[in-house]
Symmetry: C2
Subunit: 138 residues, 2 copies
DNA sequence: CCGAACGATACGCAGGTGCTTATCATTTGT
DNA sequence: ACAAATGATAAGCACCTGCGTATCGTTCGG
């Protein structure tokens, strides 16, 4: 039974399985995993600076630059100097970026639904809350 | 709420948090994450060949060689030619390897218990079964 | 007002990853 | 019995990752 497995191993296995299932979806929409992560992070609201965005998604701040370059060139995000601190760049989704993100997110949700097929609603709920608890006990 | 997050993002977050919490434990016992994974894979029984071991733990088969070299030099695993097919090497834990694995595993279980603190038994159970379901729906 | 701190950017380094190719010993199918 | 396949191994590759350094413009404290 899974009583023998480490929780870490289980999380890694589940995460890998999900990532593998989602990769084709992302490819079909022309986005890399990290690009999708950035769009997801910006969906609830603009990031006050690239630095906090990098910390938020746990991505290297110097590599985020090139990632944003690509997304900006694709018209999915916009960088604007923060009026209150012109060193910082506020990063936000463009209308097109919000549209693309919503579309990809819907497709990914479908894949996840498929993976969850067969699990009772109660299990799904506790799975989410359990994972959130583990992730937030940093 | 966590209803907003992708399952993949939740798994990644939880997995990362667990890995970070377990790294100091592994370091204290002088093992890398992958070395521990190998020991864990061998604990239930010897691997019939290095190739199947690599596939089992999803590690590159050519890199596994060096990993096993280290573990063998440390006296934790043993490689013996399979009598029925002398191309293959059977990999098994040594007595010392089994002891080390049990010790590290106990320490890791403690960490995981700490992370799970506050979650009711039912949630833990469903969390495990939910993760196992996701991981096995490859 | 000026030096220290800070954000964005460019660049290179070291380590880890999966993948490919080549070699050698062994097994297997015909 | 011989060619093809297979497992272990070595070596090299292309990529990704985090990290450190340097530069430049901007901000802020004394």
């Amino acid at each position: 039974m899974n009583e023998d497995d480490d929780l870490g191993a289980l999380c890694a296995g589940a995460g890998r399985a999900l990532a593998e299932a989602e990769r084709p979806v992302l490819e079909r929409h022309g986005l890399s995993m990290w690009q999708y992560v950035v769009l997801s992070a910006l969906a609830p609201g603009a990031a006050p600076s690239q630095l906090v965005l990098a910390q938020q998604i746990r991505y290297d701040k110097t590599r985020l630059i090139g990632l944003l370059d690509t997304l900006e060139a694709a018209g999915l995000v916009a960088r604007e100097p923060d009026p209150t601190d012109r060193r910082a760049r506020v990063v936000r989704l463009t209308a097109e970026g919000a549209r693309r993100h919503a579309a990809v997110r819907a497709a990914i949700r479908e894949v996840e639904e498929g993976k969850l097929a067969g699990l009772p609603a109660e299990t799904r709920r506790l799975l989410r809350s359990g994972l959130a608890h583990l992730a937030n006990t940093d």
